[in-house]
Symmetry: none
Subunit: 421 residues, 2 copies
């Protein structure tokens, strides 16, 4: 028998009233996915018994149904009898569960808790080391199929160990999968729609993919096939978008630069106009960041560029504050002010105001200076829906180009190859 | 007609695969509950079209159905056509949505994005200021009932403002909940549980309240009674937590400082150690911010404090970098480097490392200097669960105290009254 389709029911009126957030949905579905199951639905319901109808519908198509919650001692917790009804059996007292609870509670067990030791006949008890409600698992016959039904209590500190110790191993056995084959990547500066288009253009039989928008990156996963096939697909993507924009694993762009600096035991100083502190803030998100971050300036108004960095007024009047020339002077000025080995600068137009025909919103210039390498600066045009995203993208570019600069790369050649959108 | 039963569909294969956690379930269900709806189910489904059957089942009993996700440009996003099918209408291009997207994307719209401007005929478009996928809302006739169906995009930063600006008001109208009988406030530095406790301690018969966690603030609303009663309740709260920490309306702390500066036509310069650019980044989140923000320095490593601001090495060795003395020299050094009328400084220990018995994690010092007022500096202890929240709270304090300083207040007296936790 092939176990593939799974459903998850999460019961709790405090969830449907929005008093607390559900935690089980993600945990269980990620485990099921790893084991090769396809999670067809996650349903959150109040403690009012309505799960009965949903369950009856669900077992018609699903092979594994996991229910959390509704096992407590209060009157509106009724998962036990609903599952027994579904299986067409009676509730019976489990002697081991009763004994374990009696050890804890003594005669107090004869109140509301006693019913927590009842399970559907023919089911197997799942002990709960952290609470009073035992769980249970068993098979329900639906037409010609055997559907696995598992019930666990709602509180995460009770449910989590029960799931990992008693449910996950069984699910692995049933699916015959150890771990689902899957590779994760981080992509930068690519729009989600563009990434999807690119994936489709290099798609390989037997591989699936998916994307997820995050603050500074879009995550990409490729599943199925084998590692070689997945690597081949991602290499094709890389050849289309140019290097640097797709990285193995879950990696924020700032981490690339920090790795490079840590490896060398060196630090960087920043001169930011348009990002005005965002680059610096991201470089110091971790404790201990003075190891790689020296300090910097946020030279937002033009006068501050002159005063704090010594950018020439002539440069500002001839080329403008958003120019490769200004970025160069900002980076070199910052390097001179500091004792850091490296300095970077960002200046640009994030909008919504401030654009012109010659320099539209999205025009960004980056400069990089060091004690050992020639200064480099580049100008490019970023696109984004908002000032906020524009500034984040500018920070991402600063980190990527900063990494490449330290590695000794030619920034201009790289930027030309980028087909971001 | 009585609108009471609600259902929420959350679509995303990345959710059923457990790649990310759902955020909408809690947010929307808590809002619906506040408005008097009963949320009967929250269903999370993959992007595979199976929502169609669930929706058809759901409208038989629910009055309001909200769908998030499945509006993106990728091939597996198909909420638009499913809702059109359900309503028995065609998909038609919304001219306003098309125009708005064309303004942003130009000819690039003719790839995958163009279908994002289609909505079911007779529905109303819900504009998306933060992304390409517009939402829509409309009524579907089921037997003798009109069921409200709302579709919004999945990413929280797109969905949240669309929900609060275009959906929540309509839901309030339908449920008969009178939003005019409600006052909104922004609170700063108070923990959500503390705020709840305080509200309970000053609760007045007939008033309800609720809170919502946001990036830099916790929103508080008080509903019911009349304006006088609600104002009386909030004044009692203010008397308990001290002034400044509860403000009328939806106001980010940085806006308080910006208002003060704009009114005077003056600007501020910043010297940040622990926040390292966050204060500056927030001050420049709006276009045109050079009107109030001159520039600043991120003096994270100690040497940068000396080099960029002229903080004395003796001050650093005698009092430490996290001291009122250092904060004073940072603010005054910054003022001298700039032509701004005002300067502020932040130095502190955000953790997780770096604390000591004398100066534990959370110790923060703030300095304020100006051309016309005496310099003031204060030390305080903030508490927070993470480095990130600690730095945000430090930025909030900088904005609140900066506002008070410009207004001519005594910072020390104010800080002593704060009973934040």
């Amino acid at each position: 028998m092939n176990y593939t389709r799974a459903a998850l029911f999460i019961i709790g009126t405090e969830l449907t009233r929005g008093v607390i957030s559900d935690r089980h949905g993600r945990l269980v579905s990620s485990q099921l996915t790893q084991l090769g199951y396809r999670v067809e639905r996650i349903i959150i319901l109040p403690d009012d018994g309505t799960v009965a109808n949903h369950l009856r519908e669900c077992v018609k198509t699903c092979d594994v149904v996991l229910v959390t919650g509704g096992l407590g001692p209060t009157s509106d917790d009724r998962t036990r009898s609903i599952v027994a009804d579904l299986a067409g059996v009676e509730l019976v007292r489990d002697p081991l569960a009763f004994e374990a609870l009696y050890q804890r509670m003594g005669e107090r067990i004869w109140g509301a808790n006693e019913q927590q030791t009842m399970i559907p006949e023919g089911f197997e008890v799942i002990p709960n080391p952290n609470g009073t409600a035992c769980g249970f698992r068993g098979f329900v016959r639906v037409d010609e199929r055997e559907v696995l039904v598992v019930a666990l209590p709602g509180p995460p500190r009770e449910m989590d160990p029960m799931f990992f110790n008693h449910v996950r191993p069984l699910l692995g056995e049933l699916s015959g999968h150890d771990d689902f084959e899957r590779s994760d990547y981080s992509t930068y500066l690519l729009a989600e729609s563009k990434l999807e288009e690119l994936c489709r253009s290099v798609a390989v039989e037997g591989l699936e993919w998916g994307t997820r928008f995050q603050e500074q990156t879009i995550s990409l996963y490729i599943a199925g096939g084998n590692r070689e096939k997945r690597t081949a697909m991602v290499e094709k993507l890389r050849s289309l978008v140019g290097p640097l924009l797709i990285v193995d694993g879950d990696v924020q762009p700032v981490e690339l630069l920090i790795r490079e600096l840590k490896e060398r035991g060196q630090s960087i100083a920043t001169a930011e106009s348009i990002t005005a502190g965002l680059v610096s803030k991201l470089l110091t998100d971790q404790s201990g960041s003075s190891a790689w971050y020296w300090g910097g300036v946020n030279v937002y108004a033009n006068e501050s560029k002159t005063r704090l960095l010594g950018v020439k007024e002539e440069t500002l009047s001839t080329f403008g504050a958003v120019s490769a020339e200004c970025a160069t002077e900002m980076a070199e000025g910052m390097l001179n002010q500091s004792s850091a080995e490296w300095a970077l600068s960002v200046t640009g137009i994030a909008g919504p105001g401030g654009g012109s025909e010659e320099k539209p919103v999205g025009t960004m210039c980056f400069g990089f200076a060091s004690r050992t390498r020639e200064t480099q600066s580049v100008q490019m045009l970023l696109s984004a829906y908002s000032r906020d995203i524009m500034r984040r993208r500018a920070a991402t570019v600063a980190f990527l180009l900063g990494t490449l600069y330290i590695q000794g790369g030619r920034l201009l050649d790289t930027v030309k190859k980028w087909q971001y959108s």
